[in-house]
Amino acid sequence: MKKLRTIAGFFIGLFAVVIAVFASGAVYVVNETQQVVLTQFGKPVGKPIISAGMHFKTPFIQEAHYFDKRLLEWDGDPNQIPTKDKKYIWVDTTARWRITDALKFLQSVGNEIGAQGRIDDIINSATRDVITSHLLVEVVRDSNRILQSEEKGEDVIVTDEALERIDAGRETLEKAILAKAKVLAPQYGIDIHDVRIKRINYVEDVRNKVYDRMIAERKRAAEKYRSEGQGKSAEIEGQVSKELKEITSEAYRQAQVIIGKADAGAVDIYGKAYNQNPEFYSFMKTMETYKHTIDGNSTVILTTDSDYYKYLKSLRD
């Protein structure tokens, strides 16, 4: 029983020591997401501690300053910036940064709030520089692919402004902003890892004008479709009358050819027959004409010299 008490006492003592060590600040814990700068009476001691885990320092004298080791976000307020072609747009950027030199960071900006202020300055000015030296289309578009697709015959009218060929697209501008921002950041112990243009929007009154333009464009497109419809319809109508004339005239032509051939054939047949004795033919034909020409209204005067009446006369003779 006494032995048990000794063991218990030992544990309690150990526990008390541990508590005392932690409480005095001789031991401190660095999380995987953190880094620490030690200061002694405000003066930095040694290099920043980057590795996570349990670390020791002189109690009471040294102080641990914790900083984040992770990639941090920065989200700026939208800025109204004019483009090179004097269009006012809202540009909203977002950036990612990290503390690369915790000591310098502590000395120059102190804490994250201070850092955010500096980053505001750096990125906003870089953004402004880049946007103002580029056209609106260059900020909006990323490449010239839209030009090719328009050439393929998209059916909607597009303003010329939008179809300008560009050398730099949005991603190129983002890279330019990043490059500019990167230069100024190291003095604060910061690395700006990435800058992106998150949102671009027209300012309110420009937006309304854009709506008006969109409406006008759509109306033009609608009108185009209607007139295309009318045009096509007229074309078909024209085709109808063309084909109609083609069909009837072709039929007429064929009919005439057939009739001509028929007449010629008949003439040939008649000719061949009648040429055997033209004299007899004319006699026959004359006889036939008598039959046809003398009708109920005709008056016939014959002399007794005619063959028909010659016997009449000879009787009298």
Binding site: N31, T33, A52, G53, M54, L71, L72, E73, T94, V140, R141, S149, E154, V156, V158, D194, R196, K198, R199, I200, N201, V210, Y211, M214, I215, R218, A221, A222, E223, Y225, G229, K232, A234, I236, E237, E243, L244, I247, A251, I258, I259, A262, A266, Y270, A273, Y274, Q276, F280, F283, M284, E288, Y290, G296, S298, V300, I301, T303, Y308, L312, K313
Partner: protein, 331 residues
């Protein structure tokens, strides 16, 4: 008897005392048990089947634990964070689901800043989309970036706006939606991999893409005009189909008639010439007689039809007086 078993008040107090005494006897074990459970709770932990535990000792990452029951060092030494690695998360842009279910309700309120974007032809579209993702690396997720969700949110917007900014209104509205989905997914993945967010993008999907409210009627008008165009063309073809086949029939008729004329004419010619030739044959046998016969036949056919016939002597020089008399008498 029952009433005999009913305890007196004194007895009740005695029983109570006895029970309290019992409690005190067992209380030591009781306290030990409570401490044991409390200790175990700090020592044991379990990881769900769809989770992975990230273990940190004094803040330092020391390993992952798979699903099941595990042991750790208590008292803030070991810290375990369970991360759901199987679950698919969804981020919505331009709208928010208020109440998922059979009849899901959406809030369409103040997300215009998020959803309105410029297209490549400098127009404005109202674009709504979703991004689905899964945690692929719990360690990166926990330690590489401060706010993984914000990263996904921001980069999705960055990428979607960049692509919509590279396509025309009509492409985003209709033909190129899937292309944009695919490209955006790849691009978002590329950037968040660069940030080491530790997340796998599963899908990016454009949902509603609309022209802004004010412009909508004009867009509808275009669609109507398209329909109208189709209708007009159809009507024209209808008229075409009404006229042309009929004309073709008529043309055919004309040609057939001509062919009929041909047959008729030739047959007649043949018939007549054959008749002539037959007569000629006869005539050659006895020319004078035949000629005379034919002449007389002709006259006998023709003369009866005549209204008036006059036979005059060949010496008569004028026939006029004769005719005058007739005419006067008739009147």
């Amino acid at each position: 008897m029952e009433w005999q078993n009913v305890p007196t008040p004194e007895e009740i107090i005695d029983v109570g005392k006895k029970k309290v005494g019992d409690f005190w006897r067992f209380s030591r074990w009781f306290i030990v048990a409570i401490f044991l459970i409390a200790g175990l709770r700090g020592v044991m932990y379990s990881i769900g089947p769809d989770e992975v535990g990230v273990i940190q000792r004094f803040g330092r990452y020391i390993g992952l634990s798979s699903p099941g029951l595990h042991v750790k060092i208590p008292f803030w030494v070991d810290k375990v964070t369970p991360i759901k690695v199987e679950k698919v998360f969804k981020q919505e842009f331009g709208f928010k689901t208020l109440q998922p279910g059979v009849k899901t309700r959406y809030s369409r309120g103040n997300y215009r800043d998020e959803s309105l974007m410029l297209t490549g032809d400098l127009n404005i579209l109202d674009v709504r989309w979703i991004v689905q993702f899964k945690i692929k690396d719990p360690v990166k997720l926990m330690f590489a970036t401060r706010n993984p969700l914000d990263n996904i949110q921001d980069i999705s917007e960055v990428v979607m706006r960049r692509f919509v900014g590279d396509y025309s209104v009509d492409e985003v509205l209709t033909t190129k939606r899937e292309e944009i989905d695919d490209l955006a997914q790849q691009e978002i993945q590329k950037i968040i991999d660069n940030y080491q967010v530790g997340v796998q993008i599963i899908t990016v999907k454009l949902l509603d893409v609309n022209p802004p409210e004010r412009v909508k009627p004009a867009f509808n008008e275009v669609n109507e005009a398209k329909q109208e165009k189709e209708k007009m063309i159809n009507q024209a073809w209808e008229a075409y189909n009404k006229v042309i086949p009929k004309a073709k029939g008529t043309a055919e008729k004309t040609i057939r008639e001509a062919e009929g004329y041909d047959t008729d004419k030739i047959n007649r010619a043949k018939g007549e010439s054959e008749r002539f030739l037959a007569t000629l044959e006869e005539y050659r046998k006895a020319p004078d007689i035949t000629k005379k016969r034919l002449y007389l036949e002709a006259l006998s056919d023709a003369l009866p039809k005549a209204k008036e016939k006059y036979i005059i002597d060949s010496k008569q020089t004028s026939i006029l007086p004769l005719l005058d008399i007739k005419n006067k008498g008739g009147n």
